[in-house]
């Protein structure tokens, strides 16, 4: 199975005007890696999900996500946003943005991985390790190792 996250999908110092901009920048990375076929279509699916309920999570996390027809393999785009970007969380702006892209069909295996990721997000140590990581490659390998994929 393709890794959920690779070095190319990590942005260490993202500067974004708002959550739409942050999401778009990360989605572009997914598209560049061939994991998203139609950027606008995918962003529309994410926006639709975002409209249901803000995805700002406690602990400075923005978690835009969608299951979309335009996603080829389950993927995670990850950005550190030192300046913060508002994702609607009650406790303040997000300094970590995780963009989860899941295909609509497919087996439950990759969904199990995404479930494991969602559980990790709640743990402070997981977040801190990402913030402290020296480079994109170590972020990717740490996250990939944590969620159980090879």
């Amino acid at each position: 199975m393709t890794d959920l996250i690779t070095e190319e999908l990590v942005v260490l110092d993202l500067v974004a005007s708002d959550k739409v901009d942050a999401t778009r920048q990360l989605a572009a990375k997914l598209q560049a890696a061939g994991r998203v076929t139609d950027l606008e279509g995918f962003l529309a699916d994410v926006a639709a999900r975002e409209a249901q309920m803000a995805t700002g999570m406690p602990g400075g996390i923005g978690l835009p996500h969608a299951r979309s027809d335009y996603v080829t393999v389950p993927s995670l785009g990850l950005a550190r946003v030192p300046a913060g970007v508002d994702f609607g969380a009650p406790d303040g702006p997000a300094t970590l943005v995780f963009l989860i892209a899941a295909p609509t069909g497919g087996g439950s295996e990759h969904l199990t991985i995404l479930a494991a990721l969602a559980r990790r997000l709640v743990r402070p140590a997981f977040r801190q390790t990402i913030i402290d990581a020296p480079d994109a490659a170590s972020v990717a390998s740490y996250v990939q190792g944590e969620v159980g994929g090879q």
Partner: protein, 523 residues
């Protein structure tokens, strides 16, 4: 404290699991055990029944409808939505603790009321069970909803006989009694349904006893639809209810008995489940549950019941009647045994009805020529059929009294009612048992009824009334021997049921205990 929680969210990939993790950690931090069932897109791993049983309270952090909510019925709960669980785990746990502390103590009337007010109809189905267990759970769900109808209908009918005598049937459904001719108040509708304003006619002809009798009959008419409907409900959840009930009504109207109801219940459940799982375009999805699934499932199950089930049963009934008529010349005892087997087989279903109709038809001609003073085989046949129809419920009543642990609380209660139903020759009283454990109960009923039928023919008892049970025993010749024959059949049926159910007694007891636990009754 121990909590169980259910989390879900619209996409099923993020909030569901974050909320789960948050609740588990917040629970641990506060010294509580929290077990979470994540109903997300990665599939649901259901909480085990043991975990649910041990929980003090339930946390719903779900933005979608909770699957299998009935499993948590009766426990104190809080419903917070998934967002609250993601953002404020400790707050949710604190609220759950408060809910448990403020809940009525178990065993108090308030707690019982809470259990009774469980949200919506529930099923006895656990998701992780094997096929055999599932089939049994589907059956038990149908049976548990049917039992109150048996009790209400059977007792009302018995009261109708008690106050109105066995002639209440003639007064209701037409015929001549004591020189007076009565019209059929049911017209050509199924005997259970009095037509519109005909309640005036019922009161006029049969009085209050007639009304009791008709109320009982209407309750009885619902046995098969309810059985069928809730088997389908257990299989396919809400979409199963409509085809299950309509199929069950057809089973009742087509006189296929409770066995026909089992068939329609399983057919309806299967069809509804299939339709509910179909992948359909988004545009159609909205009208699936309210239009497409009910329409298609009723159509399919209805045609199936009419042509695949109803037609052959009607043909078989005709054939069986002819065959039985041809047997009239054979040895009396053998005929009694055969009639007994038929009475005990489907307990008010088509085969039972063939035997009963055979007996009542003979009765009519026998009474017409009754001046000769000779022994009347037709009167003996009537006596044998009635006795053989009394032993199944009586045998089940005895079995539930002797070996309580083999039965659920609801079945034990039904067993109590069965004393009265059996004594009143209301064979249907045994249906809940036969529907739940067909392979054990039906053979037991058949053997007991066959022995009783044979004995009555041997003793030569004669009966001039077509129904009435214990209320017409005074009309039976040699009543002591007649009661003896019934008692022997009753004991045999009870004995066989206990033996057959004890074959895997441990499992049967476990299932009964588990179901009692779900209903909140002590073993």
């Amino acid at each position: 404290m121990k909590f169980v929680a259910v989390t879900s969210c619209p996409t099923g990939i993020a909030h569901t699991y974050m909320a789960a993790e948050n609740l588990e950690q917040a629970g641990k931090a506060a010294g509580h055990d929290v077990q979470v069932e994540t109903q997300g897109s990665a599939g649901t791993v259901p909480l085990s029944d043991d975990v649910i049983a041990a929980a003090d309270g339930v946390i719903y952090a779900a933005d979608l409808e909770v699957k299998g909510k009935g499993r948590f019925a009766g426990k104190p709960f809080i419903d917070v939505g998934v967002k609250k669980a993601v953002h404020d785990g400790p707050g949710v746990i604190a609220a759950a603790v408060a809910a448990v502390e403020n809940a009525p103590k178990a065993g108090t009337p308030e707690a019982a009321a809470m259990a009774a007010a469980a949200p919506g109809p529930t099923t006895k189905v656990t998701n992780d069970a094997g096929v055999g267990t599932k089939i049994r759970q589907w059956l038990m769900t149908g049976v548990s909803y049917m039992i109150p109808f048996v009790a209400a209908g059977g007792i009302l009918i018995a009261l109708g006989f008690l106050f109105g005598g066995d002639e209440v049937v003639t007064k209701l459904y037409g015929g001549t009694y004591d020189g007076v001719t009565y019209a059929d108040t049911a017209n050509n509708l199924p005997a259970a349904f009095p037509k519109g304003g005909n309640f005036d006619l019922i009161m006029q002809q049969a009085g209050f006893a007639g009304v009791l009798f008709v109320l009982g009959k209407i309750s009885f008419f619902m046995l098969v639809p309810i059985l069928s409907g809730f088997i389908a409900f257990a299989i396919a959840d809400r979409p199963g209810l409509v085809p299950g009930i309509v199929g069950g009504l057809l089973a009742a109207v087509l006189n296929t008995g409770f066995l026909g109801g089992l068939v329609s219940g399983f057919a309806a459940g299967g069809v509804a489940l299939f339709l509910a799982r179909l992948k359909v375009p988004k545009g159609v999805r909205g009208v699936m549950p309210v239009v497409v699934i009910p329409l298609v499932s009723v159509f399919v199950v209805g045609l199936f019941m009419i042509f695949v089930v109803g037609k052959p049963i009607a043909a078989a009934t005709t054939w069986l009647t002819d065959w039985l008529t041809g047997l009239s010349g054979s040895t009396a005892v053998v005929l009694g045994i055969i009639l007994g087997l038929m009475m005990g087989f489907d307990l008010g279903g088509p085969i039972n009805k063939v035997a009963y109709t055979f007996a009542t038809a003979g009765l009519t001609t026998a009474i017409a020529v009754e001046s000769t003073g000779q022994a009347q085989p037709a009167l003996q046949i009537m006596a044998a059929v009635m006795a053989a129809g009394m032993t199944p419920p009586l045998g089940m009543a005895l079995a539930t009294a002797v070996r309580r642990k083999l039965f659920t609380e609801a079945e034990r209660d039904n067993g109590l009612a069965c004393w009265l139903l059996g004594a009143s020759f209301i064979t249907e009283g045994a249906i809940p048992f036969a529907a739940a454990h067909p392979l054990r109960v039906i053979p037991s009923c058949m053997v007991g009824s066959a022995v009783t039928g044979g004995l009555v023919m041997l003793f030569g008892n004669e009966l001039r009334a077509p129904h009435g049970g214990i209320f017409v025993v005074a009309l039976v010749s040699k009543p002591v021997l007649y009661l003896l024959a019934i008692a022997i059949g009753m004991v045999i049926t009870a004995f066989l049921v206990i033996v057959l159910m004890s074959l895997d007694a441990k499992k049967t007891e476990e299932i009964a205990a588990a179901e009692n636990a779900m209903e909140g009754v002590p073993a």
